[in-house]
Amino acid sequence: MRAASIDNPRALAERMVAKEQVDSTIPESTMPPYMEMFLAHLRLLIGVPFEYLVPDARLLPDESIRFFYVDRSWTDRLVDGAIAVGKSGTREQAHHQAHSADVKAQLDLTERVVRTLQRGLSAPREREETPAQITTGFLLRSAAVSGWPSMDVRAFSEIVPAAPSNVDDPAFAQWTTSAEAVQLRTLRLELLSPSVLLALFDGIPKLVWCEEPHHGIEFGITMKDGSPFFLDRHEASGAGEQGAAPVPVPVRAANPRVVAVAQLRKQLAQLNDPKLVPQTGSAGFAIELLQLPWRQRFEGDTSERRHSSGAFVSDYPVASVITQQTVRDAVTELL
């Protein structure tokens, strides 16, 4: 058996002090890609059992959303634990000790591209070299998660005002630009179970919104506590009219769940609201029946209890009058 090269009690200390390690800038000392991605996934708590995230079920009751900061020390320990695999002697410890700062710095950058790679997109060519931000996020346990898969979740570092209702308005493009400028990078957005959604953001959000998926624009009415029924007013572009009182929906005497369609149209016409679609036929009526996707906004300061509000969004071009010449030509030709 080979004699131990170092056998005194201060072997580890000596090794730590007199470490001869490869400089981290040298390609040979960088982590293999799989290892780097594995550790970056750990940084985003991917694979960590749910019991470790939420140690008691009462911390995340049904129909609740809980915002949080990620304890970066915790995730650093997770990475340390992973690197501890196969660490049997002072040689491995000295190696880890010498490289841990570089590993940490590298993972701070890599963890930001995990979601990009998860989505099958290629990582951005130029990596950001800014120091790691604070990571925050939320856990959402709700029937809305299972019932409306792939909802749209975004976080912003500033409070973004509600979007202008008309997509053709130049103010809308302006609003989009300003909103994108303050949007925080989503580090992770995943279902932990069919009804639990976990989101992680790079930075401290002041506004988080969850939007009903745009799977289809349906027709329908709004119910408030079961009955009575209401209809939201829509402008000619299909956008919801801001601040307008909803229109009560008349029903038939013989069956209270049958909408009295003709009466409803009559009432819409009698509102004399110039913003509404002119009730000339079924197309105008259908626009008024559209149900717009709901966008729930969670605003508030970081430590305070966040308050939530919401609004229907209408970033969908629906038109009763054709303004584009190409479309008009196509339709004329067809009819």
Partner: protein
């Protein structure tokens, strides 16, 4: 997305006769020619093939909270709802228009309607003959097509009348959509992006299993009314204050049942005409007072009507409500907020008390906090932890152990150990580093033990082999020669420094003698090194010019050398 009231075909479905006639006249005579052709425009009439259904809401066999959505069907044939006439003979009177009503919707009346039935309200009859699906007079007006089988839906006449749209409503409930071709939602069947959409007018009840049926109303003047039935007086739409009516749905239902009961007493004699007279138990009592004694306990079954079902699908209306309701009613808070304070027992730092069995087997109470915390924490600057024990902490106040980070360490270790590929990768990472660090160590040892001048970048240029580089450096050192023999250690130079030279010191400090200075510097001149005397030159005798001239052999060598130099110069200059 663009919406159109209707898209009508150039020709409605039906049989047509085409007559072409021309008259030819020439001087003295005139002749006419004519020819007749028959042509038939065929379209779906008693069933709509599934391929023509581009989509539906709610989706077929779906479960979900559809109670606030109006079911609709999307047809890829954009003209389908307007291809036939509902009432070509004009049996239905024109709708009455009251003063103040908006102008009636433009466009033709569609011949189809989407009706929503709930479970138990309907019977779906598959593959019956057309004669059984429609009344005889309707069959006659349909021109009695032979050998037609179709699907039909059978329901109580009262129910059908309650949900059947009127003429104007039929117009309002069908439109054409033009969506972008990129819009994948409705464009699954391909096509040009035009779809006919038929909307139902009935909202599915929560919890009900429903069937939406696209029915043909061609020639059904017996069912389609010119004017819509009465609107519920106490419905919110009629201006009533919502707060006053606790349950308008119930009131309306009571009215409906009351009407139903009143109607049922009259047509008792109709029971004989029904195909299968069966007696059913009466509906649940709708009036709290006792009915008159002569009211029969059993009443005749309601009159059934049948409609041709073009296509139909089922869905179940269940679920917790709409997205909006769910999101609005969420409990919003930072993590660590509990509804019932003290359950679970959470410290203000977000730690949770847990029982732990330590290594000795003793049970102790420890604190744990996950990675998700309600406030921003500074990051531990101490970078590398090598074991879980290193990460264990004790809280100063209670002395309880905080295992949060130790638990994190162990989770990371277990997750990594469970991944064979990660183990391979980390081993490769280490192996590569070990090899290179061993190399760096070798270079450092060589640099320390020998005075060889190695390339300064040798430690970085990993591909450079060490042995040849060291050999090359050693050869170079030999070639460049040894350092000077005299004063190898530089003591003489040190000794000649002004501060250490006794003669200079004596002059500077104005001392009496050099010896005095030497004693000040440490007495012993040997410590500073002895001055090495220059070796004496070898004495040589002086040489005169005569002795040189007498040395003929020497002069001959000089002359030969001169000749050689001139010859060399000539050769160099070109041989002249």
């Amino acid at each position: 997305m663009y919406l159109f009231d209707s898209v009508t075909p150039p020709l409605d479905d039906g049989s047509y006769r085409l007559t072409a006639a021309t008259e030819v006249s020439y001087p003295g005579a005139k002749q006419s020619f004519s020819q007749q052709h028959y042509l038939e425009v065929v379209g779906p009439r008693f069933s709509v093939p599934q391929a023509m259904v581009a989509g539906s809401f709610p989706p077929s066999n779906a479960h979900g909270a559809f109670q606030d959505g109006l079911p609709h069907i999307v047809l890829s044939r954009r003209t389908l709802p307007w291809e036939r006439e509902l009432d070509p003979q004009g049996l239905i009177p024109p709708p009455t228009i009251e003063a103040g009503d908006p102008p009636p919707p433009s466009g033709p009346v569609p011949w189809v309607a989407l009706l929503v039935f709930e479970e138990g309200e309907y019977t779906l009859l598959r593959g019956i003959e057309l004669q059984q699906a429609v009344p005889p007079d309707v069959f006659a007006r349909l021109e009695s097509p032979a050998n037609i089988t179709c699907d039909a839906v059978e329901a109580d006449q009262d129910l059908v009348e309650a949900i059947m749209p009127s003429l104007e409503e039929l117009q309002l409930l069908a439109h054409v959509r033009w969506v972008n071709v990129e819009d994948r939602e409705l464009n699954t069947a391909g096509g040009d992006g035009y779809y006919a959409v038929v909307v139902a007018n009935r909202l599915p009840s929560p919890g009900a299993q429903c069937r939406a049926v696209l029915v043909s109303l061609e020639q059904r003047a017996d069912l389609v009314q010119a004017n819509p039935p009465a609107v519920a007086e106490n419905a919110p739409g009629n201006g009533a204050v919502a707060a006053q009516q606790q349950a308008p749905a119930d009131l309306a239902a009571q009215q409906a049942h009351a009407n139903f009961a009143a109607q049922q007493q009259a047509p008792a004699d109709l029971a004989d005409q029904l195909p299968n007279p069966i007696f059913t138990v009466a509906q649940a009592p709708v009036h709290t007072f006792s009915p008159p004694l002569h009211t029969p306990i059993f009443h005749v079954p309601a009159k059934k009507v049948r409609l041709v079902a073009l296509t139909s699908w089922q869905f179940t209306c269940e679920g917790p409500g709409t997205f909006r309701e769910l999101m609005q009613n969420l409990d919003v808070a930072m993590l660590g907020t509990v509804t019932d304070v003290g359950h679970p027992p959470l410290t203000d730092t977000g730690h949770l008390q847990m029982r732990l069995q330590d290594r000795l087997g003793a049970s102790e109470s420890v604190l744990y906090r996950g990675p998700l915390v309600p406030f921003n924490l500074t990051r531990d600057p101490f970078v590398a932890y090598h074991s879980a024990d290193q990460a264990r902490r004790v809280t100063p106040e209670t002395g309880a152990e905080d295992i949060s980070y130790a638990a994190a360490f162990e989770v990371g270790r277990l997750l990594a150990a469970g991944d064979a590929r990660f183990a391979q990768a980390i081993m490769r990472w280490r192996r590569e580093s070990y090899r290179q660090s061993a190399r760096a160590s070798t270079i450092a040892v060589i640099a320390k033990r020998s005075s060889l001048v190695l390339p300064p970048t040798l430690a970085q240029t990993l591909h450079e082999p060490i042995t040849p580089m060291v050999g090359g450096a050693a050869t170079q050192a030999v070639v460049q020669g040894h350092p000077p023999i005299a004063d190898a250690y530089g003591l003489q130079r040190v000794g000649s420094a002004p501060g250490l030279n006794p003669a200079h010191l004596a002059a500077a400090w104005n001392l009496a003698s050099d010896a005095e200075a030497a004693s000040l510097l440490g007495e012993d001149p040997g410590t500073l090194g002895a001055v090495v005397a220059t070796p004496p030159q070898t004495a040589r005798a002086d040489t005169t010019l005569d002795t040189v001239a007498a040395d003929t052999s020497g002069l001959a060598r000089l002359a030969a050398a001169r000749e050689q130099a001139i010859a060399n110069a000539k050769t160099t200059l070109g041989g002249t």
